[in-house]
Symmetry: C2
Subunit: 218 residues, 2 copies
DNA sequence: CACCGGATGGACTCCAAGGTCCCGTTTTCC
DNA sequence: GGAAAACGGGACCTTGGAGTCCATCCGGTG
């Protein structure tokens, strides 16, 4: 969860550069394939072929498929948080949120809403099947929401947001709108619902902005 | 999609009462099992056992697993729409929306947010794997949103909602909040995020209510 | 009441996919 | 530079689960 490296190897024995590269190729292939086909519908042979490795490599680096999936959960979590950190850690204004929204929408519109969020798509498939994966995903969502709520806290501290705004709840609402938007966009193969959902959440946050016309006494 | 009966049999030959009962038992078992384990992780043997039928029954009523899944999509769609129609077709006030929200939250809190929405959980698993299932799910979501937007239209026509409220967009936003809320609640095994998400959407709708203090000239 | 087609049970086949193993190659460390 | 261990290829094993088949049962109809 909290590793700096994107792909954290199970460090129980020495590992060479080549080994790390192979492990990353496997994870990368699993990442791509499982995003479009789903976890259960992707076979190890698919991954072996796409990653240009062999069966023994898979089992050299991962005990079994479940462990590979768990590693993928960390891998994706790290990727998403890294990307989101870049977009959110300097968030200080409402227009920053709008830019963030636009980037997500644009990325998802490239494939007409298909595939959805890498984390959300795993969640429904894994959460009732692998408790460990579920809790890791849950923590990743929490960390993601924290990136948002931290930004909102900064906005509140600087007087942009009213004092009665609750950054945590706003962040949860925004995340739910994002994930629900991904899901509806995926079902419709069209980004429009995702835009509507995000705009609703942003509008809601906007309603907590201190109006320039208000508080003129300060 | 638009059948009145919950379980619409493939009417290519005559079918007895007993046959219908068996088909329903199969669909009902598939419904329950696939909700908790997911579609791909549920085997036909699981369904056979849970429905107290035999292999020949499954293949007597459904050509293969894919067709069973597609039938399940219709089955669930009909169930959800039937349930939602009961709760939404007389929607005329904001407090009606709150009651609707409370019913959903309470139902989901019974299992601590697990399993999520029957439609949403299938969507991410099937939409990139079975185009026919995807479009059926998409239509079901659209019909569900229409139940909401129809209610909002009634509220707008009766002067409760401002004229600049867009019932379709509000309904989409509410649905996204609901689905995203289900997803986060499922990940967290806790209904709280779902409540926050729904409250955000309701708050947003509330902001379009005609204020009693406003429009006093009418 | 005899017949026929749908309904049913359950053994069986077959294959895809997870997992094992062996042996050769490369890297690392002393 | 040599031993030990990581890395790698791919044939092979095993099993779970989808799908088939056939004998039997039942129930409606002439």
């Amino acid at each position: 969860m909290s590793d700096e490296q994107v792909a954290a190897p199970t460090n129980r024995r020495r590992i060479s550069q080549r080994g790390i590269a192979t492990r990353d190729r496997i994870l990368d292939a699993a990442n791509r394939l499982m995003l479009v086909r789903g976890v259960n519908a992707t076979t190890l042979d698919d991954i072996r072929e796409a990653s240009q490795t062999s069966k023994s490599q898979l089992y050299h680096h991962f005990a079994d498929k479940q462990e590979l999936v768990r590693a993928l959960v960390s891998y994706r979590g790290a990727l998403v948080l890294q990307r989101e950190r870049a977009g959110l850690e300097r968030l200080r204004s409402f227009s920053g949120l709008v830019r963030w929204r636009n980037a997500l929408v644009q990325a998802n519109s490239l494939n007409n809403g298909k595939y959805g969020c890498g984390l959300g798509s795993m969640t429904l498939e894994l959460s009732d099947q692998d408790e460990q994966a579920r809790s890791a995903l849950s923590e990743t969502f929490a960390a993601w929401e924290r990136l948002i709520s931290d930004g909102l806290h900064r906005m509140r501290d600087s007087g942009l947001l009213r004092q009665d705004a609750d950054p945590e709840k706003l962040a949860t609402g925004l995340m739910a709108a994002l994930q629900g938007g991904y899901l509806l966009a995926n079902a419709a193969h069209n980004v429009a619902p995702m835009e509507v959902a995000l705009d609703m959440a942003l509008e809601h946050i906007k309603s907590f902005l201190v109006q320039p016309s208000e508080e003129p006494t300060r």
